[in-house]
């Protein structure tokens, strides 16, 4: 055992003083600092905007609570406030919509020309597309690249200098030799990552004007643990290449190509392939379908439900066939909402299909798990959407129950005619408010990322076997 420790220390020391490790250190310190600084800039304004949006919404609710019918049609949003661990995984969150709109009757709100999802981002179409430097980007792309730079000559380099033979002469099995090297690299790269995280956190807390909510200790530990598994894949891969390829330079060349395919090509390529495999109707086609379904209801409705006309035409206070008309309107609303949900599910399924295809890349797995840790990304967005769908029902029930209390109302709660139901004031305190619930981190990870973690470990096992057998068969002469 003492021997292993000696080999392990030797590896660490040799790498610590090596030129490449210094490059790695400099690059990662620089990137993490830059990432912290830039994140502060972006996050501060974003938080401002979302808080302003929140105030506007509360003000609007307050104002509209003077009349129940106005409140029912007030376009509300679920505002997706920045989560504490945002810096862990920003990239997808940046592109996801910030607001999901609804009113008591419709998902997306009454104004059908407005979208269900919208952004408060300060977005510039003139800029090129970019991936923000979140931790997943830095660890997943930059550090994993440096893993290869560290490991490419682990065996072949020592063979050239002749020290490998010497080590094999000691009374240690090759297995231990292999593991001592593996552990040394794992410790080095993880320490670099931890150092980077510390620098990033310090930069953020020094540079931010507001109190940006930093990731919790639990989140940081989770990210480090996951990145440990992730780096381990690349270390094993690098060791494997190093043991099956004679020349170090060739080994590096091949491992770089492998890295490029795993980390850059598969994520993008598979997403684009996924869209091909699972096409969805275009927005235009979808709207056509939705309108046809609505028109069908209109056409099948009794004539008296269709014609309404100005109040003068039927003289009374409320249209005499309002019950028929309300039934039709409710049906039309239901169809519209159903189609909105269908559209969302189509898009979501397509995205999930693409992610599933991309799961052959450890980078995609890493990103997905980190999104679970940061509690943002697609999964979180899906949860939010379900929240909105449910909350709209609750809100509608609230409107109806309030309407029942009003003796002056005609009790026809519908989305078209404000005058047929209550316009009494509502107590602001009673209005149900939609808030994103805080999820338990561990539950969240176990629920959504268990498979991904399993796959990452599977990758590890495969490359472990490959690397180990490669080294066992290695000709040290």
């Amino acid at each position: 055992m003492a021997m292993i420790r000696t080999i392990f220390y030797k590896e660490i020391l040799l790498n610590l003083i090596s030129f490449r490790f210094h490059i790695l250190l400099v690059v990662s310190v620089l990137i993490f600092t830059v990432s912290g600084l830039l994140y502060v800039n972006i996050s501060d304004t974003r938080q401002d905007d979302l808080i302003a949006q929140y105030r506007m919404q509360t003000g609007g609710l307050h104002e509209n609570s003077a009349h129940l019918n106005n409140l029912a049609l007030f376009r509300q949003h679920l505002i997706r406030m920045p989560k504490p661990g945002e810096i862990i995984s920003l990239a997808e969150e940046q592109d996801l919509p910030d607001l999901i709109s609804f009113d008591a009757f419709w998902l997306g709100g009454f104004y059908s020309e407005k979208e269900m999802f919208s952004d408060v981002d300060r977005y510039n179409y003139k800029l090129n597309n970019y991936i923000p430097f979140d931790w997943v980007f830095i660890a997943g792309i930059i550090l994993s690249f440096f893993v290869f730079v560290l490991t490419f000559d682990a065996f072949s380099g020592e063979k050239q200098t002749g020290t490998l033979k010497l080590q094999c002469a000691y009374p240690v099995s090759r297995l231990y030799l292999f593991f001592a090297k593996y552990l040394a690299f794992l410790v080095l790269i993880t320490l670099t990552f931890m150092l980077g995280i510390a620098i990033c956190l310090i930069t953020i807390s020094l540079a931010s004007a507001f109190q940006i909510v930093l990731p919790s200790i639990g989140q940081i530990i989770a990210v480090i643990l996951v990145s440990l598994i992730y780096f381990s894949i690349f270390i094993l891969l690098g060791l494997w290449f190093s043991s099956i390829i004679e020349k170090p330079a060739t080994s590096l060349a091949y491992s770089l190509f492998t890295w490029m395919i795993l980390v850059i090509f598969i994520p993008s390529g598979m997403v684009m392939l996924g869209e091909k495999i699972r096409p969805i109707p275009s927005a235009f086609e979808h709207n056509e379908q939705m309108n046809t379904a609505e028109t069908e209801i209109w056409d099948n409705a009794p004539r008296r439900a269709q014609s309404y006309g100005p109040p003068g035409a039927w003289g009374g206070k409320v249209y005499p066939y309002m019950d028929l008309r309300k039934k039709m309107i409710v049906e039309m609303d239901a169809v519209r909402n159903e189609y909105k949900v269908i559209r969302f599910n189509d898009q979501l399924r397509q995205a999930k299909m693409a992610i599933n295809l991309g799961r052959i890349s450890p980078y995609v797995l890493f990103r997905k798990i980190s999104e679970c840790i940061a509690q943002n990304g697609l999964q979180d967005f899906e949860n939010d959407f379900t929240l909105v769908v449910n909350h709209r029902r609750i809100f509608r029930e609230f409107i109806e129950s309030k309407d029942r209390e009003d003796p002056e109302s005609y009790h026809f709660v519908n989305s078209w005619h404000l005058e047929t139901y209550s316009s009494a004031p509502v107590n602001f305190e009673e209005i149900p408010i939609l808030n994103e619930p805080r999820q338990n981190l561990l539950d969240n990870i176990l629920e959504d990322a268990a498979i991904d973690i399993g796959l990452l470990i599977l990758f590890n096992l495969v490359f472990l076997i490959a690397g180990w057998t490669g080294f066992l068969r290695y000709d040290v002469r």
């Binding site: 490059i23 690059v27 981002d121 800029l127 792309i141 330079a249 060349a253 993008s268 697609l378």
Partner: protein, 510 residues
Amino acid sequence: MTGTLIKKEIITKILDFRFVITSVIAIVLVVFSVVILSGNYKKEVDIYETALKDDEKDLEDVKTFSLYEPKIHYPPNPLSIFNNGITDKTNKTFTLKYSWIPRQTTETESENPFLKIFRHFDLTTVFQIVLSLLALLLIYDAICGEREEGTLGLMLSYKVNRSRILFSKLVSGILLLSIPVLLSFVFSLLIITVIFGIGFSASAWIRIGLIVLTTLLFLAFMISSGLLISSLVSNSSVSLLLSTCLWVILCVLQPNLNSFIAASVIDVPSNNRIDEVYSVLWDEFEDRYEAHLVEIDKKVPEGRQNGNMMNYSDYKGRYVIFDGTTPLLLRYLYITQEIEPLRQQYAEKEWNIYKKEYLPFLEKQFRIQQTLDRFSPATIFYSIVASLSCTDVYNYEHFLEEVRNYRNTMMSYLNNDRKIFSEHANEYFTQLEMEEIYHSQYEKREENGMTFGFYNTPPIDLSEIPEFHFQNLTLQDHINDLITGILLLLTYSLIVFQVCMNRFLKYDVR
């Protein structure tokens, strides 16, 4: 002698298994990307064509000028397969309204809002990442590798000066790399034209030719930096290490970093704020509208009666579906005469606010990105190809400008030639005379019992309305950017090569 040296370099490298296999992988990656990107382009064309057809159908039914809102679509560009530029972020459809001057709105019109992050991908990125790695792998041991093997000393014992050796290495590197580059282009073009049946115009072929040349120029830079690193160190492993670090910084890190810096250093005003400014403006308009109404009601008092007039009106536009009596119509004629020109004025005012309080910030961010881009050959390469493919910001802005010009032409045609906002303002409603409208409506109502719609009116006559034509910017329009970019790339390459020459002249070959 130079010829012999180049020949030797090419033969030794081309026999190298590593070069062959990495080239094959590179070509496979390019082919894979081309297949997917061409498929996407085809889909875009389909969407564009159905949209055009639907527009035509919609416009056939338009019976009033108040409802005449033609749409303009951004024509898909086959060169976007080579370079996405900003095309996947821009609005593709613009509706021409009396009340709105066309501009890029912040809402994106993506079919699927998820996973955008993985979709920013085009052929230029593939070239930028794969071929530059190939270049570095080809050249990293050019000098130090030969020193290690001892052939460098041997070579210098011949009657040949060092600069010639270096030069032949550069030339042979470019020649060698042009094999995978040309093969990738040939395969891509074959797939695009033969399998997907996408055609290019003559000028597009010239642009593609220039894209090939730019790619080679960019790779020449990568080769000379590889040579420089190789002449700086004595060990080929270290040289490879440094080269790959350079690669990851230049081709992976920096393109992302530049835009990220630009986006976070300067703040663009938020949508909410600018919307607030607009709404103050339109509130003012509504006040003036109300004031006009009061005056008009004095002129036609009986027009205010409660008639069967469906009138949807908000500040974004006014759709009148008429079914009423003559005084009622008269009232709306007055409104049209006075309000519609006012609405156009306010649209102009809104546009001016956008131009003064929003656009400059976008412009500033863009300038920062552009300036940063100029420091890195990879991003210069990207922007040159974007200009060549007409997918850059300038081309899109040119399109927007054309749309706005067209809107102006159309408005002046409607205002001056058709005089739809004059005393003959009934044209704003239909082609018919006032009495005819009344009768046609009346008859229909008797028949149908329904109370709205221009059932019997003929569609408006659109034959004389000017048509919209759009041409991408020509090479001449882009010439400044292109020349600057190419000169910068050349300068960087030359500087690196010059430094490399200096180093190599002093290089210790032992």
